[in-house]
């Protein structure tokens, strides 16, 4: 068990170093960062000063060493757009908005897909099952930029019941349309997974045994079936959260949601590399940590993982 966790931790560290290397390599490939930092008609002297400041005159391995050192200190450099402001600070300022939208979408995905998926599984072949599966297919097919704009046109422009864009703290009215847009594809995928997982478990021998013993349907469903479906679902839902936390560039752009996704779009547009690398690093690290958490959680949910660990040791 401990060995398993240590192994996963080490893997996580390797992935994060890989991400750092990848970000650094991308920075090298996108041209001269000193030029990017300065305006087009800057003096050659100013460019040279900037090159020295950014240590671009050092060999690449030395630059990478300093890069890692700075990242460990949380220093990605100052933003090129927001002068004199560290990139880290700007990314952190945007995180609450992204976390808010991610959690809202995540809860929506879990609740909706669990309810619809379970109903579809129980009433397999019924109209409800068919309708829900058709909707699931729609959800997967619709591109989010289209869905977002259609929702705006319907609810904000035509019906005038919800605002078109923006974020006003915890005013839920502003949260509804972005949440629907960002969660639609995941609801579709997860509903199908819940349904098929449930169907698979409901056909297992132990469920038949439970039924033949005359157990209450609810007990069978929640105690025996749902518990077993839960194991793969926990992983999948957690991965969804990881994806949502990285911020949706499209949804945030359409709805003017001031999160990390929108920040990334703007930073890429203005070649604000300190912000881009800070976003990539924090998002990747967040994703890795969530994965790590899920792996550890797994050992509690599924005794086989724990036992496997013991056998190995």
């Amino acid at each position: 068990m401990t060995q398993y966790i240590i192994k996963r931790l080490l893997q996580a560290v390797v992935v994060i170093i890989g991400v750092l290397f990848f970000t650094f390599a991308l920075l090298q490939l996108t041209g001269d960062p000193a030029r990017a930092t300065l305006p087009l008609d800057a003096d050659p002297e100013a460019v040279e000063q900037m090159r020295q400041k950014l240590r671009l005159d050092e060999p690449i391995p030395v630059q990478f060493y300093y890069y890692i050192l700075n990242v460990l200190k949380g220093d990605f450099g100052d933003s090129l757009t927001y002068k004199h402001q560290p990139a880290r600070e700007i990314v952190f300022e945007r995180l609450p908005a992204t976390i808010q939208l991610a959690l809202s979408a995540w809860i929506t995905i879990i609740v909706t897909s669990l309810i619809i998926g379970m109903i579809a599984a129980i009433r397999r072949g019924s109209i409800i099952d068919n309708i829900s599966m058709v909707f699931a297919m729609f959800g997967q097919c619709l591109p989010s930029f289209w869905l977002g704009l259609m929702l705006i046109l319907l609810f904000a422009v035509t019906l005038k019941v919800l605002p078109t864009s923006g974020r006003q703290g915890w005013d839920l009215r502003y949260l509804i349309l972005p949440t629907l847009t960002i969660s639609a594809p995941s609801i579709a995928v997860m509903t199908r997974i819940v349904r098929s997982g449930m169907l698979e478990v409901l056909n297992k021998d132990y469920i038949l045994t439970a039924r033949s013993k005359g157990l209450n349907g609810r007990v069978i469903f929640f105690r025996h079936a749902l518990k077993n479906v839960a194991i793969p679902l926990v992983t999948l839902y957690s991965l969804q959260l990881g994806g949502l936390l990285s911020g949706s560039m499209i949804t945030e752009t359409i709805f003017g949601w001031p999160g990390v996704g929108l920040l990334s779009v703007n930073a890429i547009g203005t070649r604000d590399f300190p912000i881009v690398s800070a976003v990539v690093f924090y998002v990747a690290t967040g994703f890795v940590l969530i994965n790590l958490f899920v792996d550890i959680l797994y050992t509690y949910l599924d005794p086989r993982v724990r036992l496997q660990g013991k056998e190995v040791s």
Binding site: K83, Q100, S165, G169, W170, I254, G256, P258
Partner: protein, 563 residues
Amino acid sequence: MKMKTRREFLKGASLLAGGVILAACAPKATEAPTTAPTEAPKEEKPTEAPKEEKPTETPKEEKPTEAPTEEPTPEPTPTPEPVVIRVLMADQPQLEPQLHAGGNQANLCENIYETLVAFSVDGTEIVPELAVSWERVNDYTFKFNLREGVTFHSGDPFTAEAVKYSMERYNEANEAPQLSQYPWGTTTIESDYVVTVEHKEQKSDPIFLKRFAGIGGHIVNPRFAEEVGLEGMRTSADGTGPYKVEAYDRDGEIVLAANEKHWNGKPAIDKVIQTAVVEPATRVASLLAGEVDFADAIPPEQVPVIESSKLCRIESTPTNRVVFYPFIVNKPIAENKLVRQACNYASNFEAIIEFVLAGRGDRVNALMLPQYFGYNPNLKPYPDDVEKAKALLTEAGFPNGVKLNMVQLVGRLPNDKEVGEALVGELKRAGIDITINLVEIGAAGPVLWENPNPEHDLYSISWGNGFMDGGYGMDYFVSTSFFSTKSTQYNNPEFDKLMEDAAFELDEEKRRKLYEQADALLYEDCPAIWAYAVHRIYGVSKRLNMVPRPTERVNFFEMSVNA
């Protein structure tokens, strides 16, 4: 039995769902106070900062002690509803007025801060602002007589000291070498309301006065700037302008309140709430939903949608931004002037403007626009003449046409990608076969300026000329300029000489002539395909009155609202 079980399950499931939703809402409610304070103090600081100035306003605060005797008067006076407008921009800028180069930031700051002199609404003249008059002391020195009785939003008086501080502020800033368009100079205080500014290099600079109307010329309050530092100047402001900052949230709303003590009178609009959305379709939707009074950067194809609405209309203006396609003139085919001229004869921007930009653009003859100083009125835009283009190609030794590579920058201007694609189609008619390479504006640097051996023969670019002067506009093609050395390689000694002579010529008429000659030279030599002048398109609610400025500045003081 089974039916009952399912129903029970459904009930259970819906209860569970309800519970989860409630649970989901509950932590939000409790989280709110924890997240809010972390953001709030940052935002509140700036707005509170001016409140620290209350001591200077204390006499006014004493008034309320007298007021109660008057208050019991029976009839409550009806207070008029404050006029509030909502404004939607493409991005939310910071408040630092000088140390930046962003158009939207300049827009916002011009409502909060003021300059010694300013551009008139049509952008052609220099008019007084914080200076009531000025005179040229010698070739490189200006003397300004300042407006008396002006105060900053905090109540501090505006004096010569503020001018000196503001002019020296960017001299000391780290990024000083970048700000080439600033009025670099040495400021001397003659008296409380008189200053002289001497050109830093003691050179004659014909557009020195215009530089004071630009970004670098904004006057800040020395005490406030020192107090909040560079960091604080980004999120708080203390200017003399018609609007003061009531609240600032870069990720949310920027609230501007009318400066009732403004020297030019109280603004007609009491409050401006500015938010930002990158996506143009959302900006249009907000306008159609009646949520905002003003939306910036409307794409041309959305113009009919807005015009057909009962709530809003379109306001647009030609701007000082010109789009052109410079050639890399040391490349084998592009080095031939006849080929470059052929490209101009076959580009048919007349049609591109009409069909791709919905008529929202103006044909140009070269880099200069009619409103610029030094524009040559005798030059007519190249006509659409495919036969002439073919003849020129044959004369150049390419009877079967030419193949060229073109970089089209996308994401900077409305429909830039479509314009590039249409241009490819037009040129093909004359046998000019263009391979187009779309490059995001963010990646322009490595492709255009950091590439000593570029594959492309020509590329798209746009150039905004805030000073409306040939010296600033045609600089692009001077052989020693950044753009010539890094990309076009254009080197025309005759053109260079004209531009250099004009740069130090203080006689307006002589200088005008020199620029007219330079303009004609570029027109004839075609170091670029001359494309079009950009129109700025705004979506405006029907109740809002405004006049769009060619300088692309959005001035709230000039706006009003119909009752």
